[in-house]
Each structure stands twice: as structure tokens, then as C-alpha cells.
Amino acid sequence: MNRFDYARPASVAEAVAAWEPGAAYLGGGTNLVDLMKVGVLQPARLIDVNRLPDLDAIELTADGGARIGALVRNADLAHDPAFAAAFPMVAEALLAGASGQLRNAATVAGNLMQHTRCPYFQDAHSACNRRQAGAGCAAREGDNQSLAVLGWSDACIATNPSDLAVPLASLDAVVEVEGRNGAREIPFGEFLRLPGETPGKETALEPGELILAVRLPAGAAAFRGNARYLKLRERTSFAFALVSAAAALRMEDGRIAEARLALGSVAARPWRVPEAEALMVGQPPSAELFAQVAAAAMADARPSGDNAHKIELARRTAARALSLAAAGTPARMPALPASPFGEPAHA
């Protein structure tokens, strides 16, 4: 690990002022400290935001939205009874991520800013355009089985690993940030960036911008009765997604009045296809409909390497997640959150 200087600002204004090129904000540290240990990240200054005031509240709004402070720990958000009841697939996605220990440390902002798990990004000795512009991409000819099938470019085929990001994308979340030039809001659809020619620019944050909160818009809680997250992994628990899906339906008289579907670990950001969602409006739920929707959601997919299997896996995951959502949000969080195993998987 490189040496760094350490700052612990007492206010948001101080934190933003403490930023300079090469500095990094420190949340729970579960991604940043990890990547510093292997030399992938080498910040010259750590700005510890853990003690900033007023960034750890969870507020539900009367219009069916919510505001989640940047420092709310993943575990605290998932276990907040009112939040989990209103946004069950967000809680389920959080509980399907990492481990109990990590969720106690990880912050909401840090989770959304976490870096890709591409094995070559994680290895400081490999060529990686995301780490170093123009260096090349070792994954193209390497171990790319779990990498992107949508939205990738010749420069980078990495996926975004966050489970939390997937339901947030489906619910049209908004990220509140503050920087030297003041405060602004970033729609979630623009927050995580596809690689294009500049994979190093991973998010829409400008240098030095600090996340203050994530908002769920009015009406997001209307999906509470039919919302699921489904995550396929190489082992039942404590593993990143191979593919995942957040599915949410608003039902009226046995028909789908409104539908959301976001796919995780298929691209550098959660994947949404409005045309696929629109196919469901006005229809009664059925396996045939959901298969059609899943196919439409994956219509643009193509392998970036030895990963064609992910396309069919994602289709089936999407269709299954929609069926689970149609069957209704379980009264209690499943013992194995987001898992295809265990109850109530075969609804």
C-alpha cells in the first residue's frame, strides 16, 4: 500500500475543499482499502467521510419515495423495517451482496462507486484500459467468461458488480452530489457509464464530487407488492453475481399496470430496455409474456469473449425474476435472499 495523508473533515464543505487530484473519499473502505492493498488504487490523500454529520438517515417520503443518506450502511438499509417493506427488492439485493461483516461496514455511496471485479483490473500488473488509458485490455484474450455481453466496447468489456445498483436503476433513483461547483442531481441511468473509448471514467461524477444521498422518486413504493431480486452465483452465498435481475410490477385487477426490469452483471451498468418493459403493460402475467420480455431485454446482447452462455442465462434469469415478482413479494425476506434455491423459488 502506498503512503497517503489522512484527513477527517467535519463538514461536507470541508470534505469537498479537502479534495485535490489524487485524493479519494473513504467510506467503509471495503473496496478502497482492498484495492489499495494490491496497488490498484494509490490515493495520495484519504478523505474520511465517515463522520460527516447528517448523511446517515433513511427517510421515507409521503409520496412513496425515499431519501437514503450516503453513509447509511448496507446492513442498516436492508434491515430498516419500513424501508424494506416499501422497497423489498432493494433490501433483497443488499442482503444478497457480500457478507454480514462487509454489509455492516459498506456505505450506500461506496457500494455504488465500487470498482469492477474484472480480474485484470484487480491485478496491477495486467494491461487494463480502465486503470490506464491506452494500456490495452488483457481480458479480451484472457479469462472473460463472466464479463459483459451488453454495452461493451473494444476498449473494455468489464461489468459493474453492485447488486444495489440493479434495483436502484429499475426504480429510477437519483444521486445527489456536491462538489466545488455546488450541488447537483444525477439520474441513475446516467450515473454509471458504459466504457466507450474512455473506460477510466466510470461514473458521471466530476472529479472531487461527493455523494450526499440517493433518492427514490415519488411512486417507487407502488411496486412493493410485486418486487423481487434474483441473483445467480457460483455458490449459494457470498459471491458476486454471474447475472442478476430486479423485477417489479404494479398490478391492477390481475393485469400489469406498470413494469420495471433491470439486469445486473451483463454490462458496465444495470441494463434496462424500456421497450421490453412496455410489452408488459396491460397484460396479465404469464410465462410466455415474460419469456418474450426477457428476449427483448437481451436483444442487443453479443458475447465479448468466451461468455455467450451469459446471454441465455440472463434471459432465463429475467424471465424467472418476473415470474417471482408476479407471484408476489414474500411476506418475509427469504432465508436465502435473491437465491434461485430455497423458498419461495418455484412460485
Binding site: R3, D5, T30, S99, G100, A105, T236, S237, L336
Partner: protein, 169 residues
Amino acid sequence: MSHSITLTVNGASREIALDDPRVTLLDLLRERLEMPGTKKGCDRGQCGACTVLLDGRRVNSCLKLAITLDGSSVTTIEGLAEGEVLHPVQAAFIDHDGFQCGYCTPGQIMSAVGLIAEGQAGDDPERIREGMSGNLCRCAAYHGITEAVLDATRRMAPATETAQERKSA
């Protein structure tokens, strides 16, 4: 640049001068405070061997920089027993053979104490396995570990209703 932090370790307040901001809580405990009970496995959050309670919550001490913890309170495996009297989770691990080589055990026990305090798993073995998935055991003592956590949960919550009691009620 030297930083000084105050850390309560197993109930005792300590002033600690840190000459290097890179020291993790895990290395601080093992190398500087001579408390090697907390183990280092992966050093990257992947195995749980380094689990401690930080302000009452289980975390991976390998990913916490000590310098960030001024004013915090840490409980390690060394702080669980009261004299010769083992903590109920420690006793349950012995009763149920919750280990073989023992290397992962301090982390397993601290994680179990944290899990029971979180109160989400109750006495459902599936929820306990899921809640303990951040602790790997290369000896695969998982069966005994689950039994131990289940038993400790019951021993520590005589007043709360268990599934068994709900069924017989």
C-alpha cells in the same frame, strides 16, 4: 506524520500512537497490541478470519484502517470470556465440535456473536448458514458451526420465543 487514537479494546481504553496511517485494525491488534487471537487469512475481506466487533457490530478488521477508529470500541476473541467462564458462543463451539484446526474459529465465534446480536437469523439453520457465509472454514466444520450457533442462540435468548416453542404452542 504521527497520529494518535484512543481505542477501547475489550473494555480497556488505550492511547495508541500510529506512526503510519496504513496500519489496519487487524495488524494493530496482532502486531502492536500483542493480541494474536484475531487471525489473518486473506487480508482482503474474503474469509472472515479477522472478524471483530467494532462498536458492537461484526466487521472484517483487515479492511479497517486503525487511524479511522479514534474513539471506537473493539471486542476481540480475547475479550469474550469472563475469567475462566466461556462466553455461551465459545462453549457451544466446543460442545458441537464447531472446528477442526481452529484457525477460522476466532472469526467464526466473533461473527456468530455479531449475528446473534443482529437478531435476523433466529433459530432457523438456513438463516444461520446464510448469516455466517462471510466466514470460510477450510476444514469444512460447517455442520458443527451451524449447530453451535443454533445452540448458542437458544442459550442466549431464554426469554424470546423459539420456533420450537411456537410449534408446540
